[in-house]
Symmetry: D2
Subunit: 181 residues, 4 copies
């Protein structure tokens, strides 16, 4: 079996256990009048940025923790955190601050019993092996690659749900797409 | 059919046309004594960063164009570019400079006849719809989502080839993984 | 004479030739209802980010070219470019695109006759040696250090003008300051 | 008195109290065989990046915490932290981890009795008002602007000391400067 089919099978086995009803539940928090703050470290953080970029194309007001123009969090904002282990120290600490400010905390993690999951208003479980464990979903890939790939697809799935809900066409999204480089 | 299965089918139809022999060909350029520079814009750029991060875990000397500590390109370096359309202006211009400096230019794009492909020493075709076209591989997803997802998997496939070639275990990779946040 | 006094004298000799009336002229373009896009490469880019961050604290809607959530430029936006030489390739190309979209192009450079200056609606000259020349203002420092330092002070001067104009106190600015890390 | 002269006077009053002998002491830690990791948040982080970029031009192996290709810290590395208050939470936590890994911790802060200063092997005091206090050095500028400006000059002073020590000319530095954009 080829390398790519092997990876696709791994992703399929993870993604098939993701709860699409829970994705829809989470999509209901996304409101054009709410500000969304995305947080994550390492490759999870990069998937978070890809998600934030697409949300922007869909018309949402979205920020990434750590970037230049990110404003202060306030009561009513959405804090969206991604962490495979659910225990990435600074992400969990930020989530606690967000919670204390009365933000809604939404998270994506592989661990339902992690500190991040416990503090979240809604959790989406993406049950892939991450870098610190050798869980049920064994992977031939290193570190959290399988988690990153699965999260990428799941978050783009969330974008697809949101684009359909808002009737956003490719042309409309393209207009929001950066026209500089 | 669920959202996630729909996306997975789309990815499968793209990835099944990626040439694994060409991936192995490209993997032969990756040498622990070579410096690798990754370039890409937007979501392609984020996939490039995820690739660069993993290459670092595998022990390669790798840099991302635009980051703080990226040194000057020199004769013999590898310039690795990602662009769905193959015509992202600044990526193509950088590839030309790299070529002029006698670097090897490797690229990932959906378009075999694009400016980026034409200038490259090796091209890996990932035949997914991108934001400016409605090619053969139609997608229900917006913009270049299908390209980004497919590139993510293909580049992680390249990492898997490289990790097997170098006998790198999860434990070895974890030691290279940033231990701060 | 100590190192720090030497640097301060160099900065003083540059900054004393900056036209404060021109700074006030430029400050008039900053409108709470306008979107401001900041662009720059290398250390000039970092000074641009520091400027953008402070503008955000002052309440402006500001974005940095190259960051995740930067939207598409539109008619009426402000494009603010920083380039010591005034000929940084991609900054000049972006300024041309911005101009073509009917944005106001404001720039900071050391060269009044540079491509960037020529295309700009307003130019602020910061006459410091940059990395490609050995102009009038000789420096013991390497590359464009003197330009970067002078630009930092001049842009913070612009922020001071704007904060006074809008009666923004430290307490008000602190509320806009990111409360996560 | 003009805006720029006012700012320069403020900077001068801060910088005149910076101990140049301590700067030389700290410069002795910079060794071409050591890896240097720079950490900071917000505008202090941007000054850290400007410093890291210049160190790279001088030939040092330097990384910025949070960027894509930053490797894991190891025994013997230098951890260089910047924080006006000396109590920026994640910077202090990272410094503790670095200390525990047997790295040398060097820091720049306005507060000699701060958590960051206490944990550091060497501290450089830049006694400017920061965003959370109204200390001795009052400033008409908002938040930590005066600290950022002073740190910029002090770190470039450190670069000047290092460039003289290593006999690095502008031409040599220019060769290390990124030749792409």
């Amino acid at each position: 079996m080829g390398i790519l089919v092997t990876i696709l099978r791994e992703i399929e086995s993870v993604v098939s256990e993701v709860d699409e009803n829970q994705m829809k539940e989470i999509s209901n928090y996304f409101d054009m009048n709410k500000r969304i703050f995305v947080d994550g470290e390492g490759r999870s953080g990069l998937m978070g940025k890809a998600f934030a970029m697409r949300l922007k194309h869909l018309g949402y007001e979205v920020y990434v923790i750590g970037e230049t123009v990110t404003p202060s969090l306030q009561d009513g904002d959405i804090f969206f955190a991604i962490s495979g282990s659910g225990s990435t120290k600074f992400v969990v600490e930020n989530a606690k601050v967000a919670k204390g400010l009365n933000c809604k905390v939404l998270s994506v993690t592989s661990k339902a019993d992690s500190p991040l999951a416990k503090i979240s208003d809604e959790v989406l479980i993406v049950p892939a092996t991450t870098k610190y464990d050798t869980g049920e979903k064994k992977s031939v890939q290193l570190l959290s690659s399988l988690f990153d790939q699965s999260v990428h697809i799941v978050l783009d799935g969330l974008c697809l749900i949101l684009s359909m809900k808002n009737n956003i066409t490719n042309e409309m999204a393209l207009k929001q797409h950066l026209n500089l480089e």
